[in-house]
């Protein structure tokens, strides 16, 4: 753990992760409390009451696959199966898209491997009218809300059916009809925007709330402080999620201050209730989100949730994680895999088995394969058709002003 071999004795300190390539993965810093260790709070409790467990971990699924503790949402088998299906579908989709990027079909891709439950379970705990302000690793929300997979792929390959007219990098989805706010790519900007959206909802007397997601590294941004300040001051009906997947590209969470205190505990100074959750436990993520949503909807304001998980793949198709972290670090990750854990739980309940699971995987792989085939029929990034070239000059303003019109004419379109 105490590497820091390059730090001298001048007093200037640069933290380093527990293990770099070639070293033995070490997750001894992750304290794992057992399901039931963190009590359920009353929906209108004082924020302070949650702070005692800001370094704890809300868990429902034990490693034996049995659900337990106060936070067990007691979902019925069909709801559990639905989450399993969505987590698996997200993973299957990611897997295929990543490979297609490697084959040159896309400029860029980002998987959510290992942290799919964070998005899927949260989406299932929210209402469809709630506006989400995601980061780029919550594609699970889109599947949970039933977005057409072909449309998602058309966006990623920027073809003629891309709903964003080829203006955004792949994965930076936007889906107004599904109350899914445009993913920026600039980090944390959506966090305080989500608070503003939630304030407007409250101002209009509406019941919809907002939820936003950022990563552990992004908590270092000034907009994080902006969001927590606004959320606390105006008691906004918003859920602010920090997905602590341990890595920000090659930078470990300690560079964002994660070694000194949990990201959940950042909420203490703002007087926000804070929940720290096992992010690979779909039931715990569901329960925590449900609690925060109910609290927000009943006028008790915002909640900060840290979901503790592990980024199972590279940051994107542009980096090689073997260059900055132990190659098989994921195998040592103590909170396991969200898909396997939910599957074990369902098998334990007697509603699922390996055979059906394999069948589901095969069917989903086929679904994804066919969807991509269909998506390609609307064009590809390299061969087109794309959105009309002249459309690059649209939507800058409500109406095209003279100078942009002139530039369009310069391009000859």
């Amino acid at each position: 753990m105490k590497r820091n071999k390059n730090n001298n004795n001048t007093g200037f300190f640069v933290p380093e992760p527990a293990a770099r390539p070639g070293e033995k993965p070490d997750f001894s810093r992750i304290d794992i409390s057992s399901p039931g260790a963190v009590p359920m709070y009353k929906i209108d409790c004082a924020a302070k009451q949650t702070h005692e467990f800001a370094d704890g971990l809300i868990r429902v699924l034990g490693f034996d696959g049995v659900a337990g503790g106060d936070w067990d949402p007691k979902l019925d088998a069909s709801e559990l199966l639905e989450m399993l299906r969505l987590i698996s579908l997200t993973r299957t989709y990611d897997e295929r898209m990543f490979k297609l990027q490697r084959q040159g079909k896309m400029s860029f891709y980002m998987k959510s491997l290992g942290e799919e439950a964070v998005a899927v379970a949260a989406a299932k705990a929210l209402d469809d009218e709630d506006m989400v302000f995601p980061s780029y690793r919550q594609q699970g929300i889109l599947f949970s809300r039933g977005r057409d997979m072909v449309d998602m792929m058309c966006h990623c390959i920027s073809n003629s059916r891309d709903n964003l007219k080829g203006r955004q990098l792949p994965v930076h989805y936007s889906w107004a009809e599904g109350n899914f706010f445009s993913i920026s790519g600039n980090l944390c900007t959506q966090f305080p925007q989500a608070v503003g959206w939630a304030m407007a909802s409250a101002a209009k007397g509406e019941t919809a709330i907002a939820a936003s997601w950022i990563g552990d590294g992004t908590t270092a941004e000034g907009d994080f402080h902006a969001a927590l300040t606004l959320a606390s001051v105006y008691r906004a009906p918003v859920i602010l999620n920090v997905v602590n997947n341990q890595w920000a590209i090659s930078t470990y969470a300690g560079i964002a201050g994660g070694d000194q205190a949990s990201f959940a505990s950042r909420g203490i100074g703002y007087g926000l209730p804070t929940l720290r959750v096992d992010g690979n436990d779909a039931l715990a993520v569901y329960a925590a989100t449900k609690w925060a949503a109910k609290r927000a909807r009943s006028g008790h304001g915002a909640t900060l949730i840290e979901t503790v998980t592990y980024r199972g793949e590279s940051h994107s198709t542009s980096d090689d994680p073997g260059k900055y972290r132990p190659k098989d670090e994921v195998k040592s990750w103590p909170l396991g895999d969200p898909l396997e854990r939910l599957k074990d739980h369902l098998i334990g309940l007697g509603t699922w088995d390996d055979k059906r699971h394999e069948k589901m995987l095969t069917e989903q792989a086929e679904l994804v394969r066919l969807a991509y085939k269909e998506a390609e029929s609307f064009g590809t990034l390299r061969e087109g058709p794309l959105s009309p070239t002249a459309s690059i000059f649209d939507d800058v303003y409500v109406e095209q002003p003279w100078h942009i019109r002139r530039q369009r004419q310069d391009l000859g379109v």
């Binding site: 608070v195 503003g196 959206w197 209009k204 907009d223 649209d394």
Partner: protein, 337 residues
Amino acid sequence: MARMTMIKAINSALDNLMQRDETVCSFGEDAGYFGGVFGCTEGLQAKHGLNRVFDAPINEAAIIAMAIGMASNGLRPVAEIQFSDYIFPGFDQIVSELSRIRYRTAGSFTTPVTIRTPCGGGIYGGQTHSMSPEAFFTHIPGIRVVMPSNPYDAKGMLIASVECDDPVIFFEPKRLYNGPFDGDPHKPALAWSSHEKGEVPTDHYTVSIDKAEIVRAGSELTILAYGTMVHVAQESVRVAGVDAEVIDLRTLLPYDMQTIAKSVNKTGRCVVLHEAPRTSGFGAELIAQIQEDCFYALEAPVVRVTGWDTPYPHAHEWAYFPGQERVIRAIKQVLEG
């Protein structure tokens, strides 16, 4: 109609807007209960309620992001940034977010936000209360940048800005808040009550945020100005005794090139004024476009009179401010050139 200062005109615009449209709200540092450090939102909280006019934390990124979120959820927020010198913590939210959300979502999300912010010098504000940062903003596709030069335009343009579906940065030349200023600090301060543009309707009206205004017609040369410099230009022309056409640009992005080109093609000579520093200032854009569109009509090189390429000094404010003497020198240079 009533006699109004620019402060009262802005206040009246916000009052009319809030009266007509329940989605309009206004917030900023000290802009709630107290009514703003310049008083532009005075009395609005008492009249329209705490939920529509309120104090914001000292975090410009938070203020602008909050406005973006609100606008994406159907409100028409008017965010006040106390001094334009303080806008930079919120710059990312303007450059990367506010200006691009319509574009990056192909029109499926829109953020009609108006950001009001006082700018410019002439009040002994030193380097943190005197900036004219408009050129940073005219370089951002997707936002409109406007700056009125009198109470009548301020009210009409603010209403037009808030009602516009594009995001707008609304610069308020603070030296003009209480009266016109011709650039001579030794003269007694003038009040808007004696100026025709201090006569302002109490009801709702708009002034176009697409059109420049020819504030003085003339034939010998064209002077392009905005904000405080409009008044400096007019007085300089009077003192110099030349027949200049003075154009108040009013809108900097997108600027009214039609009016500019028509005038420069007619006069063949042009002086461009702004308080902001010279290098890469907005004048550079105007002159580049003028030489593209009016080159064969030009009789002399176009000249700029601007603030210096230094931070805005405190004690030497009047050596920095592009006053009448420098404007008159430029007029002569262009006429002789």
